[in-house]
Subunit: 207 residues, 3 copies
C-alpha cells in the first residue's frame, strides 16, 4: 500500500498548507503558523488515535508527518503569493487527502475490531476534525458546520467501503473505488454548490 | 441499575436536543447539528474516559448513546417549532441528566480506585464539559463559566455521594439521595436566580 | 530533584493566578475561575500525558497540583487588587514555570523512549498549551500565536538540553543550564520586545 502512503503524505501536505495560509492571514507569527498547520494536517488522526487508544498516535509513531508539515510551512513562508496560483492543485491534493484520511481512519478502526459504525465515525473524524481544531484555535466557527458537503462525501465513501468489505472486494480495489466516491461527490458538490439542509424551521410547521 | 441506565439515556437525549437547538440557531447544516448534539450529549463522558484511560470510551463501548443522539437530532429536525412548548420537560430531563451524569462519572472514578477528590472532579467533568465543548465549537464563551449554579449543584451531589459511601449507605439509595440533592439545588437556583460570587474586586480592598 | 519539584509547584501557582486573573476580568463566576486557573496551570501537561499515554496523567497522579491551584484561586479571590503590585514577582514565577515545565515534559518524553524531536515537542506542549487552552475557553485567539518569543525560548532550552544529554552532562547541571537558557531568552525578548517574523508576504514576491 505504498501508493496510499504517498497519497496520505500528499494530503497531509495540502492540509498543512491550508492551515498555514489561514494562520498567516491571521497575522500569526512563525510559531503560530506551524502549530495551526500541524493541527490542521494531523489533528483529526490525533483525535482519532486518542479516542480509540491507538498508541503511539499518528505523528508520534511516524516522524514523516512532522517533516512534511514543516516543509509545507517553509514553502508557504517563502512563496505565499505564488501559492495562490496553485489553488486548484491544492484543492485536488486536499480532496485526495480527505478521501485517504477517511479510509485509512476507517481501516484502522476495523483493524482494532471496533463496530463498523464506530469505525466509520473514526474515518470521518480523521478527515474532518483537523479543520475543526484549526477553526477553534483561530477563534472561528468551524467552517465544516456551515457549508459544503465535505463530511457527507466522507460518509458516503466510508459507507461504500463498508459495503464492499461485506462483498469481499479486495482491499486495494475497495480503497480506490471508495476514495473515488469521496472525490467525485466533493468535486460535484463544489461545482454545483450543493449544501445539506438546515433546520430553519420544522418540516411540518409554518414559519 | 437498569433504572439508572434509562435515566442516563433520557439525559443524553435531553442534552442532544439542547445541542441540536443551539446548532440550528447558528444555521449549521445537518452534519454540524449532529456533531454539536453529539458533543453536547457525550463530550463530558468522553473527556472523562480519555483522562482516566477508561477504554473503550463511553459511546464506543455502547452504541445506544449514538442512536439516542441521532433520534434526538431527527426529532429536532422534524419538530423544531413544537419543541419550544416542551421546554419545561426538556429542562427536567436535562436536570435529571446532569445528576445521573455526575454520579455515574463519580462511580466510574471510584471503581478505578481514583482518589475521591479526583472521582468527584470526574463526575463534574461528565456533567459539565459536554456543554463547554458545545460552546467552544460554536465559538461562544462557555455559559457555565458565567451563570447559574449548575456546577455547584453537581459538586454538592457528588460530595453527598462520597459522604454516604463513608457511612456504607447502599449504592442505590445513595444514588437516589445524591441525585435528589443535585436536582433540588438546580431547581431552587433557577427559580431564585442564585449565582456564585464573582471576583470583581477583592474582599478587603476598595473598588 | 526536590528543588525542581518546588519550582514546578511555583510555576503551577503562577500559571493558576494568571488564569484566575484572566477569568475574573471576563466576569466568570467562582466555578469558571477555578476551571480556567486549572486549565491554564496544568492543561499543557495534561495534554502531553494524554498524547503520550502516560497514565495516571499529571494532576491525577499527584494531588498537590490541585491544591496549589485552589490556593492560587483563593488568594486571587481575596487579594485581587493587591496582586497587581506583584506582577513582577508573578512574571518571574511564570518564567521559571515555563522553563521547568518544558524540561520536565522533555524528560518525561525521553524516559518513555520517544524520539528526541517528539520529546522536545512534548516539552513545548507542556509549557505552552495551558495558555492556549485558557484562551480557547475564554474565546480569544491564543496569545501565543501572535506575540512574544515565548515558545521559541522553550524550544531553545529544549534543544540545549538534548545537546547536553549527548555530551553526557549530568542531569541536574543540564537542567539548570537549559532552564537558564529559557529564562534568559524570555527576559531578553520581553525587555527588547523581540518578535518572530510573520508571513505577510513571501520573501521573493512584491507586495
Amino acid at each position: 500500500m505504498e501508493f496510499i502512503y504517498v497519497l496520505d503524505i500528499l494530503g497531509t501536505f495540502a492540509f498543512a498548507i491550508s492551515g498555514a495560509l489561514v494562520a498567516s492571514d491571521k497575522k500569526f507569527d512563525l510559531f503560530g503558523v506551524i502549530i495551526i498547520a500541524f493541527v490542521t494536517a494531523i489533528g483529526g488522526g490525533m483525535l482519532r488515535d486518542v479516542l480509540i487508544n491507538a498508541h503511539p498516535i499518528n505523528w508520534i509513531g511516524d516522524l514523516n508527518y512532522l517533516f512534511t508539515i514543516l516543509a509545507a510551512v517553509i514553502l508557504t513562508f517563502l512563496f505565499k503569493s505564488k501559492i495562490a496560483y496553485l489553488s486548484k492543485t491544492l484543492f485536488l491534493f486536499d480532496t485526495v487527502g480527505i478521501s485517504v484520511f477517511t479510509l485509512l481512519g476507517l481501516q484502522k478502526g476495523l483493524l482494532l475490531d471496533l463496530h463498523p459504525i464506530v469505525a466509520l465515525i473514526m474515518g470521518m473524524i480523521s478527515a474532518v476534525f483537523g479543520g475543526v481544531l484549526r477553526d477553534v484555535l483561530t477563534n472561528k466557527v468551524p467552517l465544516i458546520f456551515e457549508k459544503e458537503i465535505y463530511a457527507s462525501a466522507c460518509l458516503a465513501g466510508g459507507i461504500s467501503y463498508l459495503i464492499l468489505v461485506k462483498f469481499n472486494v479486495p482491499k486495494n480495489i475497495n480503497f480506490v473505488i471508495s476514495a473515488s466516491v469521496i472525490i467525485f461527490i466533493r468535486l460535484i458538490s463544489v461545482k454545483f454548490q450543493l449544501q445539506l439542509p438546515k433546520i430553519n424551521d420544522d418540516l411540518f410547521g409554518k414559519s
